[in-house]
Every structure is written in C-alpha cells, then in structure tokens.
C-alpha cells in the first residue's frame, strides 16, 4: 500500500523515461487506480511525479465505472514524450482522447464470439489492469 501522497513529490531525472500508468490502490478484492505520471523504471508504489486521473474498475450502483482524467496535463506529458501503459491507452481510447486501442477491438470481438458460442452474457473486462 502506498503511503506517498498522490500530489506528486516524486523526483525524476530530466531525460529519464516517464510513463503514464496505473497505481493500484484500494485493498484486497477492491481495486482502485490512480492514473499517474512517474519514472518508468520505478515501482508503482514509489512517489509519483504527478497524478493525472483516477479509475474505479468496479461498477457502482448505476452500473457505471467512474474515470477521471486531467487531459491538459496528459497532453503536456505526452508532448514531453511520456510513454503510455496499455491499460491507460485503452482507457484513453475509450474516453475519445486517443484512437481506440487494438486490444479494445480484440476483447470486444472475443466477447462477441463467446456470446455467440455459449449464448451466455459473461463478458470479460474491457480494461484489465
């Protein structure tokens, strides 16, 4: 469990590889993610450079998964050459900020295939962290 604040106290080298990715918070059987910018080589629970969003993968009472992004800062960090982890890229694709990630299409057609075969509605998570 991370004890470092999400306000962004992480130190980084100027030319090190940065990445926009998830940090798993929450607890056992209850995941919750922060979307953060941090040095690529670091462990996810190290201090982050900046938090640029949140993602709650568990549907709430209205069957919604809540995502928030700070698009201004994401634009900035992508412009600075930050990398993107695949789950983040998928989420941003669904959010309409980036083109849809191929894995999203793949998951979708595999779910459709499964439904066609079994007749059951047991779709897999579109975004798996």
């Amino acid at each position: 469990m991370s004890l470092s604040p999400s306000s962004g106290i992480g130190r980084y080298y100027k030319h090190s590889a940065k990445i926009i990715r998830f940090v798993r918070l929450g607890c056992t059987n209850r995941p919750f993610y922060h979307v953060v910018v941090m040095e690529r080589r670091k462990n996810q629970h190290q201090p982050v450079i900046e938090q640029v969003g949140t993602y709650d993968p568990m549907p709430n009472q209205k069957n919604e998964r809540l995502v928030s992004f700070n698009f201004e800062r994401i634009r900035y960090w992508l412009g600075r050459g930050a990398h993107l982890s695949t789950p983040t890229a998928e989420l941003l694709g669904i959010a309409g900020f980036l083109p849809i990630h191929p894995r999203t299409y793949m998951t979708a057609w595999r779910n459709r295939q499964k439904v066609a075969e079994d007749g059951t509605i047991e779709a897999k998570d579109p975004v798996e962290a």
């Binding site: 412009g79 191929p102 299409y105």
Partner: protein, 234 residues
C-alpha cells in the same frame, strides 16, 4: 531445502545403479518456485508445452489494427510535442508581458513608492538612533563612575597592604642587624622537642626525664579523659 532421505546405506547396497553419481540420495523439498540452479523436475522432464493456436485471420486483423494505431499515435505524439513547444514559447503563465512604456511607468511608480518608504523609514531610523545614542551616553557615564569607584577601592586595599607590610618590616632581619640577630638566637636556644606519656603529661625539651626539671607536677586533666582522647586520636 535439502533433506537426506532415511535408509541411504541400505538403498546404496540394493540398487546402487539407480542413484546418481552423488553418494547421497537427495530430495528437494520446495514450497515456492524452483530455484534457477535446480534441474528440471522428473515429472516435467520430457514435457513439450503446447503452442497456443493462432487464428491467422485474427492475427492479420490485429496486425492491421496495430499498424493503424501506431501510425495514428505517432502523428498524435508529434502534434502534442509541437503543441508543448508552442506553449512554452507563447505562454504567459509564469511571467508578465508588458510594453516598454508600461514597463517604464511601472518602474517610475515603483521608484516613487520606494522613495516614500525610504523617507518614512529614515525618520523612524533617526529617532531610533538618537534614542540609542542617549542611552549609550548614559550607560558609558555609569560605567565610568563604576570604574572610578572600583579603582578607589582597589587603591585602598593596596594602601592597607602596604601599611601592614611596613609595620612588619620593623622586625625583619637585614644585613645591618644580622650579627645581633644571630647572637641573640645563639644566646637563647629554643627546644621544641617534647614527649608525652599515657596520662597526657607533656615533657618539654629533648633531654627532660620524668621527675626531672620541666616535669609537670600533676596533669591538668583527668586521666580517663586523656586516655580517651589518645585512643580517639589513634
């Protein structure tokens, strides 16, 4: 973890051919992942893992999608990079942009403000300095007075010492009266030797004998008391 199995010797004799070149039959007990230096487990020795079958159609589709995605991302990244550069140049977030006239006016206003502040502070400073100077003068005067008193006391003490020494100097032995002093000392020898008996009687002189000259007739104190004091002193 290694555990030596029981009955090693017995098994060695019976089926020696089955054991490896090592004299001990070793069994590895694991409760986690196999360390890298351990050999392949016997049950997994000739296992060939199955390849996941790939759908050629799906593979081609994914390849196409990925190519598209990478192309789009590349151009998007380039656009964002240029945007960041552009913003760095044109941003006024961390500095204020003014025309030269405005800057001049701003500078003049700042200077005027500074002048008024300086004047106000100068008045305050002069008052403060005046007060400080007065206080300092008083303090110096006090300290001078105290020093004078101290010096007087010191001189008095010195005078006292000198007077005492002068009085004492009358009895000093000098070169002039050295002879007379020696003669006087020779004429009046002083014997500081004495002895004491158990009753506490003091016999003055080096050669005095009990009952002779200088013997105290009766001791001034009680015998028991003397005994006690002697014991206590011991």
């Amino acid at each position: 973890m290694l555990r030596t199995t029981t009955g090693v010797l017995a098994r060695l004799t019976i089926n020696e051919s089955k054991t490896s070149s090592s004299a001990f039959a070793l069994e590895f007990v694991r409760w986690r992942r196999k360390p890298r230096w351990l050999p392949v487990a016997k049950s997994k020795l000739y296992r060939v893992p199955e390849r996941k079958e790939q759908n050629a159609e799906e593979r081609a589709e994914l390849m196409r999608l990925h190519n598209n995605y990478k192309l789009q991302m590349r151009s998007l990244r380039q656009y964002l990079r240029e945007e960041v550069l552009r913003l760095n140049v044109t941003t006024t977030a961390d500095h204020i942009v003014l025309t030269p006239e405005q800057e001049e006016a701003e500078f003049a206003r700042c200077m005027q403000e500074n002048e008024t502040w300086n004047q106000k502070i100068a008045v305050e400073r002069n008052e403060r300095l005046l007060k400080e100077r007065e206080r300092q003068a008083v303090e110096i005067r006090e300290r001078l007075e105290a020093a004078r008193v101290r010096e007087e006391e010191r001189m008095e003490r010195i005078e006292e010492i000198v007077r005492r020494e002068k009085e004492l100097a009358k009895t000093f032995i000098t070169h002039e009266n050295l002879e007379t002093a020696i003669e006087q000392a020779l004429a009046n020898p002083v014997d500081y030797n004495f002895s004491i008996d158990l009753q506490g009687n003091i016999y003055r002189g080096r050669t005095t004998l009990p009952g002779g000259k200088g013997t105290p007739a009766t001791s001034g104190v009680q015998d028991t008391e003397v005994q006690q004091t002697i014991e206590a002193s011991n």
